[in-house]
Symmetry: none
Amino acid sequence: MALNKRDSIVASSLVLFAERGYDATTIPMIASSAGVGAGTIYRYFENKEVLGNTIFQEYVKIFTNTVENDFPYEQSIRNQFHHIFQSMIQFTKEQSQALYFIRTHSSAHFLNEESHTCFEELLNLFKCFFDSGKEKKVIKNLPSTALIAILYGAFLELQRLVRIGELEPDTSMLSDVEESMWDAVRLHM
Amino acid sequence: MALNKRDSIVASSLVLFAERGYDATTIPMIASSAGVGAGTIYRYFENKEVLGNTIFQEYVKIFTNTVENDFPYEQSIRNQFHHIFQSMIQFTKEQSQALYFIRTHSSAHFLNEESHTCFEELLNLFKCFFDSGKEKKVIKNLPSTALIAILYGAFLELQRLVRIGELEPDTSMLSDVEESMWDAVRLHM
Amino acid sequence: MALNKRDSIVASSLVLFAERGYDATTIPMIASSAGVGAGTIYRYFENKEVLGNTIFQEYVKIFTNTVENDFPYEQSIRNQFHHIFQSMIQFTKEQSQALYFIRTHSSAHFLNEESHTCFEELLNLFKCFFDSGKEKKVIKNLPSTALIAILYGAFLELQRLVRIGELEPDTSMLSDVEESMWDAVRLHM
Amino acid sequence: MALNKRDSIVASSLVLFAERGYDATTIPMIASSAGVGAGTIYRYFENKEVLGNTIFQEYVKIFTNTVENDFPYEQSIRNQFHHIFQSMIQFTKEQSQALYFIRTHSSAHFLNEESHTCFEELLNLFKCFFDSGKEKKVIKNLPSTALIAILYGAFLELQRLVRIGELEPDTSMLSDVEESMWDAVRLHM
DNA sequence: TATGAATGAGCCTTCATTCAT
DNA sequence: AATGAATGAAGGCTCATTCAT
């Protein structure tokens, strides 16, 4: 926790935004949780809205990078799906609060154009994957947005369970879940 | 809209809570939208928190009832799944705002014990279904909480797309989605 | 002091703005001086800036009306001057703080276009008078803005003395001052 | 502008206080305008209030000295008046911001006893002049405070016009103004 | 000596809640 | 029972002031 002040503010904000939501989180809460004065926050972020957008974009980008990193474009759709699923798990592990924050705020009123674009880019990654999968007749012929919703929605809800301690994310369970979600999107012949 | 005042307040609150979120909705907003004086709301609800919890519980119960109603306990797991899926769609159609409100507020900071219990009961319905399905070797051997998360999470995310107009909920698409989600949870032999 | 709330707020604001200046006067100060809650001020004025502008315009208009009222256009320049001087004295008596507030804030940073226009109209009254006086060769041939400055500036400073109790505004002194100021602007042949 | 730091702070403060007013001028503004760190200001002035008072007194004293300097005690009242008027013009020219600052802050809330005394001393100069003039039956028999108000008030208002560019301070206009103000205070027989 | 990051008191403003009507 | 004017606690934010470097 003994990071520099900016990181400390970001970390505390993320946790509070995830736990209570942006609107129910006050600047004094963030300040005290980050161990800084309320005024200090304004040395790093113009205002609360900018803070919210910055954090949103920062973590969406980390998520996007996690998925994009070493993406096995040359391999089978199933392997690509495996990569995506593993990326989601890895991001969840490293940034347990971040994914939940992104989920609960991806259409929040305070998000600006840039944040939306940033989020679209993430979704676009998934879209490309599903489109190529549909082309190869490996993925169900549902709208890509729907396929993303199924994968992303299910994953987020699972992640919520892990967060609140209702689900133990051991390897075997995770691989079962991966199989379940693959079953959901793949074309059964 | 000429309901009695209480219902009018509940209806208006639901819409506003769904559209703007609980924290960003003010009592005067609700009052003016419900066509009553601000003070009147306090004749029916002790305070904003009670109002929020009441609405949450009310609609979760309606959802629960929709699923429980005419539940085909005697029929196949697949038929039971169909019933559940149809119930979700029906509830979505009838109470388009309600499901979104429940989704976005199911772990809101203002919810009290009773609200959480109420929500657990809804999830428990699904749990029972999945448990019996697993027993009969028709449903994947994943924790029921995980299966619920997959079904519920995916459905909610899809519903969000419909809400924002990104997805057209025609019959054929819906039946494809049902199939996809059944694929996700059923045991493939 | 038992006026309605709006008037009470206006009256208190005027006194405080005059005594401490707009920037050094806080909303809580006004509220407590007016005997209302801080929030109440915002039922009557959108914000502090609007409050400042409203008061400025309100009193400038009263001043303007005081001067315009029964203006003896048909009479001699000297009589017109007498009317103007008497109007200033009357306004000062009735609204002792107002003139000082106007003086100290007539180029304040918070004034909007409308306030400036309103003030220009007041100055224009004087300008017209001096212009007609110059035409008739009764008033010195100085720019009207300068003549206004001399009359208005001197009067304001005198009024300040009365306010702080350094000068007793009895009739004979006032008529001497009027004579002095008339001497300042009239053309001596 | 490469003065020592103290002078640089004083000069910058004067300009900002004159332009924006004491209350609307922040310490960081002064610091950046003076090219020093914000903390440095506190090496030279205990706090903002002390800074304000110091500057007020400093410039009032310069004004006083300008008037006192080479005062023609031996000459006629008219000549003395000319000296005073010329001093005011000279001070205005050299310290254009200072006179405006003094004018707009001469009864500011932050001024302490010493500042008021200092200002009184300036006024006292004028008082002595008018008293001796009245004794010699050259000046109107008005209270000296009133005569000062007329001279000083008119002059300040004129100076404001020059400042905002509404009046061109050429020699002929200035001598007309001097004549006008002399007419205001002198005894007409 | 000089700095500017950090602080927190206090500002303006909003809004849940009360209460006289 | 219903209202909405009034309230004041609390939020976001600014800025005079301090202090470690």
